[in-house]
């Protein structure tokens, strides 16, 4: 589990189980997935969260536009996202892995 930092801790047992059940032929594909670094996303959120850049990078385009048009949700959303963005990044990484294993 060298990629454990990319996922929520409570999801790790489920990911392990899923990987054990997965066919060996998918191993290379799983290894080649590039995950987003949660810490990097936090830094981006602190620096550019006001413009919704963090949400755009994750792929939440609608929320990014809403954040951009509202001055970062009047500044409140910007600050709230500093606490949420790491979890959201890990969720997104899990989704990416799930899609590749499906």
């Amino acid at each position: 589990m060298t990629h454990a930092k990319f996922f929520e801790p409570h999801l790790l047992p489920a990911i392990r189980e899923k990987l054990l059940q997965t066919d060996d032929s998918k191993w290379m594909m799983v290894q080649s997935i590039t995950y987003r670094e949660p810490i990097l996303m936090l830094i981006i959120s602190i620096l550019g969260g006001h413009f919704g850049i963090d949400r755009f990078i994750i792929g939440d385009m609608g929320l990014g536009v809403a954040k951009l048009l509202t001055c970062g949700g009047l500044g409140v959303w910007t600050i709230v996202d500093w606490f949420l963005i790491m979890g959201r990044t890990k969720e997104d990484n899990f989704e990416k892995l799930r899609l590749n294993l499906a």
Binding site: H50, F51, F56, G59, D60, M61, G62, L63, V65, A66, L68, L69, T70, C71, G72, G73, L74, G75, V76, T78
Partner: protein, 139 residues
Amino acid sequence: MTRKNLYFLALFLGLAGQIWIVYSYIKLGKQEEAFNTCIFNRVTGLPCPSCGTVHSIVSILHGEFRKALNENPLGFASFLMVAVIPYWILADLVFRKDSFYRFYSSFEKFLKNKWVFSCFLFLIFVVWLHNIGQFLHWI
């Protein structure tokens, strides 16, 4: 994002936006400035792309469309969002439909196209330059 999360967030944002606009409308009516909530503006002293949106919406409510366009063109998009989305979601909830969710999903897909997103960023950049130009009295 699930339908439930999206509806909760969009409804909350829409209603909060409406309250903020009513507050600003009253404040600006008394010739007072509304509280500046823009972190970027407070930190750098420069306006962000969406600074002036509330002024623009208040001008739209007064029927002064040219003034609204001059204050911030994004005000029109924000006005549409704040005026339409909460009621659209409420209608969806009442009639147990998911039309807004489907619209949101297709909008996200549309914006993920790199050309569309580049055009969007370019427009935002132009609006930002316009805002900075106004702030520095270039325009």
